[in-house]
Subunit: 385 residues, 4 copies
């Protein structure tokens, strides 16, 4: 299975490449429950291959360490007990070098397996899930790291010229889409897609228009300056409570210093560029902004149907849609059935991809999902009406 191996190697190396600028100290802290330390991402993605492939399919495979399954399982109840999610940052051991040894050990065994005659289509499909899973963690590794570094009063630089922003100074057009019956979702018989994209199905849409570009920092600044955070009329009731209880007055990572706006980025603290697309925005803020503009967020079906007509891929775009099963959705048997389905309540769908999304890990049917208050992903806003 040469292409499977090549892809496996490429994606595994990419994860380590992302960690290259890190100091050992950077691998450890977990400043919030929703964030995981780089050490944990490196180990967890490795455990995924050990647990779901090597232990089952590789003859006489010996696990690297008997306690790693307990330490690096994320949330799979099928697999048994695990470290509390909030305790990922207290683990001084295994050392960072132990984790790199673990990766090497698993990679070698995976290559053996894939090169051997034992490799089957079933294994190949699991590898595909595993590398897609690792790509998801590549993005999380970056967004989690940004969150951790951002809390440091020294504003550390991860890497110069690592901006994750794009210029959005073009004119905004509202693209019209006609009412009608459309087909959305992914066909599971075709190339890889996650179970939450199945089944492909028909939806009826009314006429709508959708913006050709993402909302910029400058446009959002106008909302702030117009008192948007103080005016309850634009907010969900829960959103308004959330901004008051958490004293939120601006997007995550924005800082006003001596009258000027700055933004913490992985390049360090930089002046806010009004022409760049907005990022790190919650669903509550996205909705309030849209309301203030006299517009709304698109539904995920609208987004998907219109997506060929605009440029996307620099920000995960909040939709109005709740994260719910598609018609015909079925939870898979066993641990991998826990991948998506059990999170289908109280979360919102985001569409597109971001500047931090792994290459090749995006498609127009992809359904990302987060709770409405989360800001630490590279989230943005596209308006509809």
């Amino acid at each position: 299975m040469p292409s499977v191996i090549t892809n496996y190697q490429k994606i595994r190396s990419k994860t380590e490449e992302l960690c290259q600028p890190l100091e050992i100290e950077d691998y450890i802290p977990q400043p919030a429950e929703f964030v995981s330390p780089p050490k944990w991402h490196l180990a967890h993605t490795t455990w995924f291959f050990e647990e779901f492939i090597l232990r089952k399919y590789k003859k006489d495979y010996q696990v690297f360490h008997p306690k790693y399954s307990f330490l690096f399982n994320s949330y799979y109840n099928h697999v048994g007990k695990r470290t509390l999610r909030s305790n990922r940052g207290i683990l001084t051991r295994p050392l960072v070098c132990d984790i790199y040894d673990y990766r090497k050990y698993v990679d070698e065994h995976m290559q053996d397996l894939l090169n051997s005659g034992e490799a089957t289509d079933e294994i190949s499909q699991l590898v595909t899930i595993g590398v897609n899973h690792e790509q998801q963690h590549q993005e999380l590794l970056i967004t989690d790291l940004k969150y951790t570094l951002s809390l440091n009063p020294l504003y550390p630089v991860y890497k110069p010229d690592y901006s994750l922003v794009s210029d959005m100074a073009a004119e905004d057009l509202m693209i019209p889409i006609d009412a009608g019956l459309y087909r959305i979702g992914a066909d599971k018989s075709k190339k890889f897609s996650f179970d939450n994209e199945h089944n492909a199905h028909e939806v009826y849409l009314n006429d709508f228009t959708i913006s050709s570009k993402l909302v910029t920092n400058g446009e959002y600044l106008a909302f702030i300056e117009a008192g948007g955070y103080e005016d309850f009329r634009f907010w969900h009731d829960e959103g308004y409570t959330w901004i008051r209880e958490n004293e939120i007055q601006k997007p995550l990572y924005w800082h006003k210093m001596d009258g000027s706006w700055f933004q913490y980025s992985l390049e360090g603290l930089v002046p806010l560029n009004p022409d760049h697309e907005l990022g790190h925005i919650s669903f509550y803020e996205a909705t309030a902004f849209a309301q203030w503009k006299g517009k709304r967020l698109p539904t995920e079906a609208e987004w998907e149907v219109a997506s060929d007509k605009f440029k996307w891929g620099t920000r995960w775009e909040w939709t109005q849609s709740a994260y719910l099963p598609y018609p015909g959705y079925e939870i898979a048997e066993g641990a991998l059935g826990e991948y998506n389905g059990k999170f289908m309540v109280n979360q919102k769908v985001l569409r597109g991809a971001s500047n931090a999304t792994a290459e090749g890990h995006s498609r127009k049917t992809y359904r990302n999902f987060f709770h409405p208050q989360h800001q630490w992903q590279l989230t943005g806003i596209r308006l509809a009406k």
Copy 2:
């Protein structure tokens, strides 16, 4: 406007009739933030007419008491500051008799207004909203009261023969519905409906089947006895956390005593009848039960499309659907715009009505909504596939 007046009087009297069995002590406590005391319901529904009609449309109207607007506003930010929701149970004053005087005062002024030449279509529409609002509070008054009394180790009786249950011993059929384009929602130009039912719009549905009857106590008991509360595979991740953190092992109001099951009801503590429809179930539990049965909850569109083919109205039925705006939904200007729209996040739609719903206050397009963990309403389960 004789029919408006008659309806107003009928519904206002009904609220007081519901309070007839109460002692003064029963009017006061608020044991949880989501519950309001009867005194508050009586006053708040009255304040609604005073605030939105009398103050604006009745010439020289003097409010009954200058602080009542602060005390009895529920959540209308437009109207100004208000008592914290969690503080409704600390108000020993105004006395219960003062509240009845307040009702009388407002009713007299409302009748004057409606009998006078000043009454317009606009007023008539506001009265319609006001009486529908009062009907919603009639049901809440009963479910809140049940919650409060249920916490009392003396298991007080509200009223003998007030059971709120029905017999469901009939055979269960799965009614088939064909795929196709259907129209759901309410046409705002026709008779009264809430803004969240607008606009009527097309939806495309796949083939599905839906149960002819509600799940019974006996069926749910089988789920409990099969270990349903211990098996993570049936639960949303948040649902499973919720049952463990709150030590939930059974529907609200069920008690196992010396090996037999009882249920607290407004008639007091009674043996659990396996043939009655289940009630007081959370969305999490409803979903887990459906999962265990190899079925699922219907979407709200499926429910509405099929609703003419089954009997409904004894339990609010959880749907799979999140509470979201319909296409074309617009938030109204002013305080009444806060009625529905600002709650459209993190809540689930319930369809139907319950044994405690006011007469005439149900229709197949009605969208009720609660958070997925709430159990204190008369909620039930209908399965789909």
Copy 3:
């Protein structure tokens, strides 16, 4: 035992007399865990006689209601399970009239017992504890009620001319006391005292001076106006955290309205009188005030030794002393052993009595105790150096 009976009757009637101005609504709410509703105080003091005397010593005594022991036990683990302290305000039943019937029933049985030949010295001692216990609850009934009514925006009046304040306009003298060995505490062989006053014992005191009068509202206002709540130097670390987290800037019940100071009292809202003694102050605030004045709070031994030289009895006076066992203190056998000893950690001793203390329920050896943050008792400040 005629004197025991007379005293019993007098104190029991006094409790009901205190409730005379109440409406039924006032008997119910519990706005904070440290507060109990009047209904609960009436029942709990009655339960004390039923549980500790009638059930043990009255032949064939039938309890008034089998569940009252569960409902009205305060904290006696020996006696078994009980209503959660925080749930005292949710009990709509038993009705207020039921509680008065309960009091009558127990009083009649107590009188029978005390009139009968069965009454012994042991019973007489228990009655003495019971009436002292009831006197403690008389004061709590008043302070709890004040707390509940104070939260009502209508500022209800409990009773006109019920001020609980005294004039303190006299000159302040610092009374000097010589160093030496002094005896403090109560001799248990003499007249009634609580176990926490035992044993009488020697203490050595250095020279000190103590104020002849309590701190007034006016003096405390000067502390506020001098920025005392903003200057960390005067505060315990925990006290400073407490005022910031709870946004405390003034004594409980003080209100600044249009530039003038008012105080909620059981007479309603009244202008703050600068010559009246300060009340409703926490230990943290008392210490910060003393620190600002360049003085300190007295220890409980200093207070007791000097107490014959100044007027006391209008405010419970915070001392520097922690509530700890005296030398030779022993926890009594059985439930009454839980009366005092188990609270001897993290609390401070208050000495004296207040304007709300029952007549005859004070002596210079009396040790009252509360947590340092509590403000809802009639607490005040006397300085020492």
Copy 4:
């Protein structure tokens, strides 16, 4: 000032020697608010010299880094704003090597200053406080590290043969002390002592007896096996609530595995030795154990008066005494006034020293203090009667 320099150097090196077995990963996590990471201890003790000595007394001194004062101030409000105590574990930067550079920089400047003609008695006294402060942090560094490592399922070894235990198999004698007037506390004119040990003063003690040895693991195990954690009669009310809410059934670091008892130590997980002295016990547990034994904890005055008659120094011994000012205690001017006085509420005094206390950092008048629930220090029990 050669002796001052020698002592300074010796103690500063000792801190680094304690860190010698650590990996970089060990320097980072903070698993609980009461714990600080090694990196923080290394930096904070250095900041103390920079802030209180070099900035004030060394001509033209340039601080090592402008933000370190914000990062490494512990609780001195006088010095200004600081990192939240709970955020010490999120700082990936400064790197561990930066902190060692910081130490070197400050040490060089300190040596310059002490060698120069500028060094005065005032500076010498501040250096004495600084090295005593650093010795306190040496012990905290060890106890904090133990807490962090103990949470790791891999049970890491800090250093072989680093047991912090002693054999206590000797016979227990109750040493009698006669009643009388005794002098306790430290004379501030003599050699160094902390302000909380001042003034030396007279106390009157009744006759008492005190144990010649500390309670052992074996004795405490008997308490557990006798059901001590289930019997409310032995516990303070707050202690009993604390053990139930936190599900505490044994001392910190004890583990029962397959029927045998083990103890996590800095040597790793080792079998529990019944003859070793008990450690890591809260005040609540210490009191409950004493109560079960029919004894009590000594007061701090009793402990100090009797301390020449028994061996002490392996465990910090809980006393019955609250941490309160001694007669004549005065808070010093400026930031060092925050060292002790502001913590004098809700804490208990511990006397003695432990196997982790720095050499030369103990004396019989020393007053250590912690909250009654804290277990992570090397605390033990000596009984009195």
